[in-house]
């Protein structure tokens, strides 16, 4: 108690307050917090280089597959037309010309646009039901599935980055 009557320094104040805080325990978190922290932070933990390479590699494969599949689906008709043009330009030009002429004649003869659309739909439907059409449809479904799988791998990581 004599220390009260001598000149004190900041160090004395510091020591006295430290002594007071010896009686004050830390605030403790709930027992569930640790498990929650481990589960929530686990996706953000650094990964080993080999694992990281594998993840990056697999994502590249998935992304590449999606891009190539989509490109094929979009480019196949164009490639077919272009190839046909180089093989026999006359066939392509005649086909396009006949198609345009038929369209104009139909429209001039009073065929309704809805009728044309209905006929086109029927043709497309039957094409899809053919073996080749089914193959194209399956390709589309496969490409979409790959895209979804790729997104499901990427999206949680982006959420953790917020």
């Amino acid at each position: 108690m004599t220390e009260r009557f001598i000149a004190r320094s900041a160090d004395d104040d510091d020591r006295r307050m430290r002594a007071v805080f010896l009686a004050v325990p830390r605030r403790m978190p709930s027992t569930a917090l640790q498990a929650r922290l481990l589960a929530a932070t686990r996706p953000a933990w650094p990964v080993a280089a080999e694992a990281r390479d594998w993840v990056v590699g697999s994502e590249l494969v998935v992304s590449g597959g999606v891009v190539i599949g989509a490109a094929l689906l979009a480019l196949v008709p164009v490639v077919a037309v272009v190839a046909a043009f180089f093989l026999d330009a006359g066939i392509v030009i005649r086909g396009l010309t006949h198609g345009c002429v038929m369209l104009v004649e139909w429209l001039s003869a009073g065929v309704s646009v809805w009728d044309l659309l209905a006929r086109t739909s029927v043709v497309l439907g039957s094409a899809l039901l053919s073996p080749a059409g089914t193959l194209v449809l399956l390709g589309g479904v496969l490409t979409a599935s790959l895209a979804l799988a790729g997104l499901s791998r990427v999206l949680p990581r982006q959420e953790g980055d917020v």
């Binding site: 108690m1 009260r4 004190r8 900041a10 104040d13 510091d14 006295r16 307050m17 430290r18 002594a19 007071v20 805080f21 010896l22 009686a23 004050v24 325990p25 830390r26 605030r27 403790m28 978190p29 709930s30 917090l33 640790q34 929650r36 922290l37 481990l38 929530a40 932070t41 686990r42 953000a44 933990w45 650094p46 990964v47 080993a48 280089a49 694992a51 990281r52 953790g160 980055d161």
Partner: protein, 210 residues
């Protein structure tokens, strides 16, 4: 510093190793980092935001930020100080968003006849066996601490519960050393005044405590 170390004990040498192993992909090291620093991080945050559920959310945010920033950690700062800085900034951001970063009551030392620090209880007069008195004192300090400004609370917790020195506190808070000393000085005085008003004077003994 670790959750289980003494208040002013030096940091265990394992922190730097843990960080290195965590960065190398060791899940065990990452898990140990979480387990080791969960309590000091939570303690600092809950003292600042004064809400347990919010403090747990912010503790989680702190660890997520820590792991994302771990590759940028430089060892010129102790890992515990670096992590507590993230925790402090997270708590400050929360208080700013909620507009809770208000300036609490500050004392004006001028014109004060008696040094409030004279009213601090003399812990030497309370034997270790008198644990009930210590519990009462802890409760009184808790209440007094809650009445401090958030930045004062942070500096007091870092100094007296986490055992950081002035330099480290300045690094954690991102303020000059002089500001830390000023904050501590004012915080101590306000705490002492609050404790004195609560009946914890220098003559406090088990028999005289109201």
């Amino acid at each position: 510093m670790s959750a289980d170390s003494g208040r002013s004990a030096p940091a265990p040498s394992g922190d730097a190793d843990l960080v290195r192993h965590s960065l190398a992909g060791s899940a065990e090291a990452s898990e140990t980092l979480v387990r080791r620093f969960e309590r000091p991080v939570y303690n600092l945050i809950v003292r600042m935001v004064r809400n347990e559920a919010t403090a747990e959310d912010l503790t989680q945010d702190t660890f997520l930020k820590m792991f994302r920033a771990l590759p940028t950690y430089k060892q010129d700062l102790r890992f515990s100080s670096w992590l507590l800085r993230i925790a402090h900034n997270t708590a400050i951001d929360h208080l700013r968003q909620r507009r809770l970063l208000t300036v609490g009551p500050t004392e004006d030392d001028e014109g004060e006849e008696r040094d409030p620090l004279d009213t601090l209880p003399d812990l030497d007069a309370i034997s270790p066996e008198q644990s009930s008195v210590r519990r009462e004192l802890a409760s009184a300090v808790d209440l007094a601490l809650d009445r401090l400004r958030p930045d004062f609370r942070a500096v007091v917790v870092l100094r007296y519960q986490e055992g950081l020195d002035y330099e480290e506190i300045a690094q954690v808070l991102g303020v000059p050393l002089g500001t830390v000393k000023t904050f501590l000085h004012r915080a101590r005085r306000q705490l002492a005044r609050e404790l004195g008003a609560a009946g914890w004077g220098p003559e406090t003994t088990p028999g005289t405590r109201p």
